[in-house]
Amino acid sequence: MPIQASRPRYSAVAQAFHWIIAALIVTQFTLASMAEDLPLGMHKLALLARHKSFGMTILMLAVLRLAWRLFNRPPPLPAGMSGIERFLARATHGIFYVLLFAMPLTGWLMSSAKNYSVSWFGLFTWPNLVAPNERWFELLKSTHELLAAVLFTVAILHILAALKHHFWNKDDVLKRMLPFTKSEKRS
């Protein structure tokens, strides 16, 4: 009986980056939507303080993740994928990487523009990137919200694509990113 060569999986480091950042992003959407319609008060300040701390955590993780990614290629896509599918996969992953930086950076900029400096869990304060300016704040806020909408859309596509690979194509694309599983060649 021939021994099935184990198919390349995402490494433990890649999986950790993926799932930790994914969980933080879900948290960010939750905190932002909870804070959005509140009047300025203790509750809103507390929610936004957490949102900013998590956001800066994502930015730091994004720097590490990108650095790590530059020296560690992901496992190849399944052989049967068409050109357009490969393009879509690369494009969505590319957009994710851009957003991992753009979301926290626009958030940091809009905090600076509103003269609300960003503290990291009360441990230290990040420097302001721009001088307080109401018009810049409004512009940056719209940008941050637009990017959030893009992120949400791409994330839905990403999840649907992973499920399609798993249940429709029956390949290992989803499983190779899941911890505690083995990627065997499925028929």
């Binding site: 203790m42 507390a46 441990l123 307080p132």
Partner: protein, 191 residues
């Protein structure tokens, strides 16, 4: 005759303190040039500092290094001129729970005593803020200039001592109790 001498003595005693006063070095009078003076405070909100200024205030200063006993600083602040460079926050700060400017449109600080320190001067004065008067010490430096003088300094106070923060703003979880005050006054001789 005796009566006249007695009267003269009494008059002498009565006038003597006045002479001592006028002989003592008088502090020079100044007022702050509003356009080139700055009064700011720094609060801590959600772990991060924010700065706000008062655009309108008047400061009358009588100061001479060799006449500290007669020197004093008197500052009147228009609370509606508070500006933290964010409308939303300013609205809350001027509102009933924080400065309550509708009932307390101005704050007042007047020194009671000034003493020389190693690096400059320190003073204790009465601050009236949001209707509460309490002593607040300040540290400052006084520098004579060609056109007048410069007075720069700082103070630390606790906002809740003055009731600045009612309702949910009484909590110090998101907004610290400690507030720093900084001032830089360009003084011109009072005419």
């Amino acid at each position: 005759m005796n009566n006249f001498r007695a009267l003269g003595l009494i008059a002498g005693i009565a006038v003597a303190p006045l002479c001592t006063l006028s002989n003592a070095a008088a502090a020079a009078g100044y007022s702050a040039d509003a356009a080139q003076s700055r009064l700011e405070f720094t609060g801590v909100q959600a772990g991060a500092e924010f700065k706000a200024v008062f655009h309108k205030f008047t400061a009358a200063v009588d100061f001479s290094a060799d006449a500290l006993a007669t020197s004093h600083l008197d500052v009147q602040i228009d609370m509606s001129s508070e500006d933290s460079m964010d409308k939303d926050r300013d609205q809350t700060i001027k509102g009933p729970d924080v400065f309550d400017i509708a009932h307390n449109p101005s704050a007042h600080y007047v020194t009671k005593s000034i003493t020389k320190t190693a690096s400059g001067y320190s003073a204790v004065g009465a601050l009236t803020l949001r209707g509460v008067t309490k002593d607040v010490p300040i540290d400052f430096q006084f520098t004579q200039t060609a056109a007048g003088a410069k007075l720069e300094g700082s103070a630390k106070l606790k906002r809740l001592d003055f009731g600045v923060g009612q309702g949910e703003w009484k909590s110090t979880e998101m907004v610290n109790d400690a507030v720093k005050v900084g001032f830089s006054l360009l003084l011109k001789p009072r005419t």
